[in-house]
Amino acid sequence: MSETRPTITPPGPTVFDLFAGFFMIGVCGFGGVLPWARRMIVEQRKWLTPTEFTEMLGLCQFLPGGNIMNVTIALGSRFRGIPGAAACFLGLMMAPVAIVIALGAIYDQYAGYAPVRRAFVALSAAAAAYLVTSAWKIAAPLWGRKLAAGVAVCTFVAIAVLRLPMPAAMPVLAIGSTLLLWRFRA
C-alpha cells in the first residue's frame, strides 16, 4: 500500500520550478505568450492536462486582467499557494519589464535623430494596424448575430466616439449585454 504512494501523487513543481518555467515563457513570448505558455505547461513540463489547461484558461479569460497574468496566479496558487502565484508572476514579468524599459531608454536616447523618428512613425502605424486585424478576428464571429453585433457597435460608439469614461460605461454595457442576450438567447 505504502509503496504505491509516490507514483500516484507526483510532488508537483516547486516554487523555483514555477519561477523558472514562467521566466522562459516571458523571454520567449514574442508576439503573444499564450502559445508558449501552453507548450511549456502542457507539453513540456506536463503540469496540467490539455483539458485542465483549457479550463484554467477559460476562467482566466472570463475574469478581468491580463489572461496570462491570471494564469500565473491560478496555476501558481494551485501548486504552491500564494508563494507559488508570486513566483509564477515574477518569473513571467521580470525579463519583459526589464527589456521594455531598456527599449524605452534606447528610444529616448535616439528619439532626436530623424531616421529613428521616422521609424517610429511607421512602427506606430503598423502596430495600430496589427490591433485592427486582431479586433477584426475577435469581432468576426459576431456578424451573423444581430444582437451581439449591435452590442459590439454600441460599445464601440460609447468608448471610441462618445469617449465615455470606462468605469461608468463598462458596468452598464456588461450588465445590459448579458441581460439582453440572455433574454433573447441570441
Binding site: L59, G66, A125, A128, W136, A148, A149, A160, R163
Partner: protein, 174 residues
C-alpha cells in the same frame, strides 16, 4: 510620491476593467494618461504602445512602459504591480471554487454577454490608435500595407513590425 499614487489608482482601476486583456482598456488608459493627468501627448502614448509591441512577454507591457516614462523605474514597478494586483486577488479567490460553477447557466450567460463588449472595446482601441498614428499619407500607406500583410499572410507579426520600422528609418515613408 503623489504621482506614484495617481499611477497606482489609475492602473488599479484598469486592472478590474480589463475584460479581454490590456488591449480592451487602451482608450481608457489613454484618456487617463493624456486627458486627465496630462502625463504625455497622444502621439507619445501611441509611440510607447508601438514600442511595447517590440518587447517579449504579455501584451501588457505598455503598462510598464507608461509607468517608466512618467516616473522612472518606480513608476514602472507601480503600474505593473497596480495593474496586476486587483485582478490577481480576484483570480486567487475565484480559481479555488471555479470548478463548482464552470457549467452553471449564469456563468455562460455572463461570458456570452461579455464577448461582444470585449470585441467592441478592442475595436475602439484599434480605432483610437489608428486615429493617433496615421498622421500623414505615408503613415496611412504603412498602416494599409501592414494591415494587409497581418490579415492575408502568415508572416510573423514581429517581421512585419520590424519591416515597417526599417522602411521608416531608411526614408521610404515618413
Amino acid at each position: 510620491m503623489s504621482t506614484l499614487l495617481d499611477l497606482a489608482i489609475v492602473y488599479g482601476q484598469l486592472s478590474l476593467l480589463a475584460f479581454g486583456g490590456a488591449n480592451a482598456v487602451i482608450p481608457e488608459m489613454q484618456r487617463q494618461v493624456v486627458d486627465v493627468h496630462h502625463w504625455m501627448t497622444p502621439h507619445e502614448f501611441a509611440a510607447l504602445y508601438a514600442l511595447a509591441q517590440a518587447a517579449p512577454g504579455p501584451n501588457m507591457m505598455v503598462v510598464s512602459l507608461v509607468g517608466w516614462r512618467v516616473a522612472g523605474l518606480w513608476g514602472a514597478l507601480v503600474t505593473t504591480g497596480a495593474v496586476a494586483l486587483p485582478s490577481s486577488v480576484l483570480t486567487l479567490l475565484v480559481s479555488g471554487v471555479w470548478f463548482r460553477f464552470k457549467d452553471a447557466p449564469w456563468r455562460k450567460a455572463i461570458q456570452a454577454g461579455l464577448q461582444p463588449v470585449t470585441a467592441g472595446l478592442i475595436m475602439a482601441s484599434a480605432a483610437l490608435l489608428i486615429q493617433t498614428t496615421v498622421v500623414d499619407l505615408s503613415a496611412a500607406a504603412v498602416a494599409i500595407v501592414a494591415g494587409g500583410l497581418f490579415f492575408f499572410t502568415r508572416l510573423h507579426p514581429l517581421a512585419i513590425l520590424s519591416g515597417a520600422a526599417v522602411a521608416g528609418a531608411i526614408g521610404l515613408v515618413g
